[in-house]
């Protein structure tokens, strides 16, 4: 058995979490036997191979693993960007494995924020407008200004991406992701393209959002040091979860160094 389900410790924030009638916490995502197979010529690649996992509100999860271990595949399936070949995945009561294109679009629009390694800002829009893209379509968004203030970019609101540093661009991406007050924030190597100092500021922003909004946050990284900021660290290898480590306490990002 390569997977393990470990009850997480109480989140370090006091943000509200749902519990069932018995007082046990309800997972936000329930993952069972999740398998993803990519055909590759005459063979196939099992990117995920029977993953079982529960993810709870407000948690900060770090996914660690070598290239090709299945981290990104898992993150993409969680975010409704990809569909599994086998297994089940539910988000609250929504069965994401059988959701159609429209349901997945609505799920992403209402519940998920994404952050990518290469920011993916719209270069023709200013910071404020990039965030406004989301606030225009979300159900209960904060204002662009609020979102940008959360990542401490209130003084750069009317700058275009080309007028900002990589770290600033990534913080705009975070503001854009959280402006809709998502329940889930999925970050795929958010510091991969940044130097240490800038990387820390970006992680601080993510940590701040997680703590203030109580957003379930999943961060993919190659950098083991970053794992210390998490509630739980999930190690993946060859599409299997090989270990789930629970941190006794989360280390503040500002104390991290690599």
């Amino acid at each position: 058995m390569s997977t393990a389900i470990v009850e997480p410790a109480e989140p370090s924030t006091g943000s509200p979490t749902r519990t069932d009638d018995n007082g046990a916490r309800q997972p936000l995502f329930t993952v069972r036997g999740l398998t993803k197979i990519y055909p590759s010529g005459e063979t196939e690649i099992r990117a995920l191979d029977g993953v079982d996992l529960d993810l709870f509100p407000s948690e900060l999860i770090v996914l660690l693993g070598a290239s090709g271990s299945g981290k990104s595949t898992l993150l993409n399936i969680l975010g409704g960007l990809d569909t599994p070949t086998d297994g089940t995945l539910t988000y609250r009561d929504l069965d994401l494995t059988s959701a159609d294109e429209d349901e997945l679009t609505r799920f992403r629009r209402d519940s998920v924020g994404f952050i990518f390694q290469f920011y993916n800002l719209i270069p023709s829009l200013t910071a404020r407008e990039n965030v406004a893209l989301i606030t225009e379509i979300a159900l209960d968004p904060m204002t662009s200004e609020e979102a940008l203030a959360m990542v401490e970019l209130d003084d750069r609101m009317d700058h275009f991406p080309s007028q900002m540093s990589g770290g600033q661009q990534q913080r705009v991406a975070i503001a854009r992701a959280i402006a809709k007050r998502p329940e889930v924030l999925l970050c795929d190597e958010p510091t991969g393209a940044l130097d240490v100092k800038t990387g820390i500021t970006v992680l601080e922003a993510i940590e701040h959002v997680n703590q203030t909004l109580g957003t379930l946050t999943v961060v993919i990284t190659h950098n083991a040091v970053i794992a210390d900021m998490a509630d739980r660290v999930i190690y993946l290898s060859d599409g299997h979860i090989v270990e789930i480590r629970e941190n006794k306490s989360r280390r503040p990002v500002r104390s991290l160094a690599w």
Binding site: R108, F116, P123, S124, L125, E129, P161
Partner: protein
């Protein structure tokens, strides 16, 4: 080695076994890796490659079609004129004895001379209520024919000494289905004869088989006949004499002195002034047609090829930008900038080669079909399409040049980037607030519209060229629309507004007032207006034209003269009214004085002032008030014919009487001419219009589709981001389409303007002495152009929106830009 197909087995090459080759050669054909990349990249962008090639192919097809038609008509004409000995100088006269022939032959510069007898013939044909008419020419019996040799399509020439045997011109014979052996009733010089058709022939002087000066053939009612000289001379009371001379001038000689000598020799015999090919009705028709074709062979291809150049530039520069990293890698491996540059230029070569093949095939196909239509008008022994192969080369070079110009900038930029820098992700594109926002109008526009505006401002040239391509695509369909409307207008103007008579009668010889009275008393004639027609040469400065000055009553109500607004113009009591085109040819304007060299009677030379210009669309004419013309000729109430308004209730009895009237040379029936025009020219214009319209649709679809694909490719990362953030397909498509919709809207008014200019240019280029088209631009033409572009735009948006579904969200987001 980079590029090309090599035979060998270098380890660095991908080996591509070709089964056929392997049978014969032990080694295998290998394609250099860069060429494999070329092939595969082309495969991935086949939609766009095809779109660009197709637009280019439209231009090339037009170019090859029209150039091949020009080549075919010119080479066929030249060979026909040469082999069948078309004369250089022509002259009619009253009567000269055959003994004068040797003297004519002795004129310096004359290589060959032919004296002939010609006359008018009126025909009574079964199945044709009205009389037909024709020209009958003599065939020499006592000597070999030297000039205007007939091409016998069927049958034979009249036997020597035969009686009543004639050869008939092919156009007329075909119109009636005549074959050798058929007989027809004819009136020659007032005497009824039964003619036996023994042959069907063509002559270089009747390539355009129509009454002299008529812009449109009416082969049902006009024909050409050839008869043995002696018999015809007897019929025309010209025994031992001739009334027509044709001369072949030696190649090295100038024709002007020959004409002058000929005039001098023939003057005592009632000679009309000699003229050259430039004034020969059939030759001029053909030259004018070639002139129109030459204009079209440049204008349209130029438009299509420039659009194609913009398109290929857009496609290829996008490709180069996308492959920035690959270019860096190639350079890092040691490929030179030239090799890399050459690789991208090969894309252009493939597009152009594809376009040349498609355009060539389509052009030849269209040419083969259009040449058949030409055969309706121009009678040659054989008229087949001679593909202008040289043009294929020119077409390839021209379009390759256009494509190269388009791509060279992008390639240069890509190869001059140091590899290390090129391999780093490009920094985010630089943007700034758009004009609208700088004006403080931000609140007026949505976020996606703001994106569109800023994109357009950031790449103004790309936006300009896209809009320009769209504008050209909008302009093109206006041209065939204006053709169609011009023909409609011309028919109405010419035959309803200007000519209100339904019959025009021309007399064999000018008649007196009593002749006019006879015409007015024909059955059913409700009103009759005389006309006087006097052949003359009009001279202004060193320009001159030979035509018939027409005298009309001042208050003419049937055959009216109109100005450009179709308002009647009253004839002045003295002086001339000229076709605007004639004034242009002569280089004169109202107020100028022309020299009139009358070529009839005592051949007086007079001066007349141009009092005004009139608008007409076929042929060129000079008019005078009929009394003024008679004064000029010093004659009484002479008439050449009359315009009649005939009550159709008495049509049959009118025609029956006309058929029996020996003094009537020809009868022009308006409705018959209109029907004949619609059948022949209508077909031609219809075909050409359909070709242009199809090409216009291809271009507008090609341009919009191509722009949408480029926008999709350039913006795929943005669009994928929006999709990931939860935008629906529809919302993302709206962002993509917004920019193009904006460009399309900007392009439409510009396109309507361009279309107007294009139509004006083509109408001007197609304006000749024989036929001119009015410039008619209706709301309908504009509306149909807009509809064509909007429909193509909608279709291409639909096609591209479907591709949005296939957008690889993960792939796009993971990849570095």
């Amino acid at each position: 080695m980079v590029g090309g197909v090599a035979v060998g087995g270098a380890a660095s090459h991908y080996d591509v076994p070709l089964r056929m080759t392997a049978c014969f050669f032990p080694r295998r054909i290998v394609i250099a890796p860069l060429d494999l990349k070329l092939l595969r990249d082309l495969g991935k962008m086949k939609g766009q490659v095809f779109a660009v090639s197709l637009v280019m192919a439209c231009g090339l097809a037009m170019m090859i079609m029209s150039r091949s038609l020009i080549l075919s008509l010119e080479s066929t004409r030249d060979a026909y004129y040469r082999e069948h000995r078309f004369a250089d100088v022509f002259c009619s006269l009253k009567r000269a004895p055959n003994a004068l022939r040797p003297r004519l032959a002795r004129i310096s510069g004359v290589a060959a001379v032919e004296t002939r007898v010609t006359g008018k013939v009126t025909l009574d044909l079964p199945g044709l209520a009205e009389p037909a008419d024709g020209t009958i020419l003599s065939l020499p019996e006592d000597r070999p024919q030297q000039l205007h040799l007939l091409f016998l399509r069927r049958g034979r020439l009249p036997a020597l000494g035969s009686h009543n045997e004639v050869v008939v011109g092919e156009a007329f014979a075909d119109a009636h289905g005549f074959r050798p052996g058929n007989e027809i009733d004819a009136i020659i010089y007032g005497a009824r004869q039964r003619l036996k058709i023994v042959g069907i022939a063509l002559s270089p002087e009747y390539v355009f088989e129509a009454r002299a000066g008529e812009a449109l053939p009416d082969n049902k009612r006009f024909g050409v006949f050839w008869m043995n000289e002696r018999e015809l001379a007897t019929a025309l009371e010209l025994d031992g004499a001739f009334n027509n001379v044709i001369v072949d001038v030696a190649p090295s000689e100038d024709i002007a002195p020959v004409m002058a000598d000929l005039d001098r020799v023939l003057a005592p015999y009632g000679g009309l002034v000699a003229y050259g090919r430039r004034d020969h009705a059939s030759a001029v028709q053909l030259d004018d047609e070639l002139m129109i074709l030459r204009g079209l062979s440049v204008a349209f291809p130029a438009v299509f090829l420039s659009i194609a150049a913009f398109m290929s530039s857009a496609v290829l520069s996008r490709l180069v930008r996308l492959q920035r990293e690959q270019i860096a890698q190639l350079k890092a491996f040691g490929y030179s900038s030239w090799q890399v540059g050459g690789h991208y230029l090969k894309f252009a070569v493939v597009i152009v080669a594809l376009a040349t093949v498609i355009g060539g095939c389509v052009g030849l196909f269209l040419g083969k079909n259009v040449v058949v239509l030409y055969h309706q008008f121009y009678k040659f022994p054989s008229l087949v399409l001679h593909p202008d192969w040289r043009m294929f080369g020119v077409a390839f070079v021209v379009s390759a040049g256009a494509a190269f110009l388009g791509v060279i900038g992008a390639v240069r930029q890509a190869v001059k980037l140091p590899p290390a820098e090129a391999m780093r992700p490009e920094p985010p594109a630089d943007y700034q607030p758009s004009v609208l926002e700088r004006l403080g109008l931000t609140h007026l526009v949505s976020t996606s519209f703001r994106m569109a505006l800023r994109n357009l401002e950031r790449k103004p040239w790309q936006a300009f060229f896209t809009a320009f391509g769209l504008a050209l695509a909008t302009g093109i369909p206006i041209v065939p629309g204006s053709f169609r409307d011009a023909i409609d207008y011309l028919l109405t103007f010419q035959w309803d507004v200007a000519q209100r008579q339904n019959v025009t009668v021309t007399l064999l010889e000018p008649g007196s007032a009593s002749a006019m009275s006879d015409l007015g008393h024909l059955p059913g004639v409700m009103s009759a207006e005389p006309f006087r027609s006097v052949p003359a040469r009009l001279r202004f400065g060193h320009h001159s034209r030979r035509l018939a000055i027409t005298g009309l009553p001042r208050d003419a109500r049937l055959n009216r003269l109109l100005d450009e607004h179709a308002r009647p113009v009253e004839l002045p009591s003295d002086g001339l009214l000229l076709s605007a085109k004639l004034a242009e040819i002569l280089g004169c304007k109202p107020g100028d004085t022309l020299r009139l060299e009358v070529q009839e009677g005592r051949r007086p030379v007079r001066e007349a002032v141009v009092q005004g210009l009139i608008t007409d669309y076929t042929g060129v004419a000079a008019y005078m008030e009929i009394e003024a013309l008679r004064r000029l000729m010093r004659e009484g109430g002479t008439v050449s014919g009359a315009h009649l308004s005939v009550d159709t209730a008495h049509w049959k009895s009118f025609l029956a009487e006309v058929k029996e009237a020996p003094r009537i040379a020809s009868l022009g029936i308006k409705e018959a001419v209109r029907a004949s025009f619609l059948k022949s020219t209508g077909d031609m214009i219809g075909t050409i219009t359909a070709i242009y319209f199809t090409f216009a649709i291809i271009v507008s679809f090609g341009v919009v589709y191509n722009s949408a694909r480029i926008a999709l490719s350039e913006r795929s990362r943005d669009l994928a981001t929006l999709r990931v953030m939860g935008f629906s397909h529809r919302e993302v498509a709206a962002v993509l389409i917004g920019e193009l919709a904006l460009l399309t809207l900007l392009a439409l008014p510009a396109g309507l303007w361009i279309g107007t200019q294009l139509a004006t240019f083509i109408v001007t280029a197609a304006s000749t002495e024989t036929i001119r088209m009015p410039l008619i631009l209706t709301t309908k033409s504009y509306a149909s152009a807009v509809i064509v572009v909007l429909t193509s735009a909608t279709l291409s948006f639909a096609v591209v929106s479907r591709r949005l579904h296939q957008l690889d969200l993960l792939g796009v987001l993971k990849a570095r830009e």
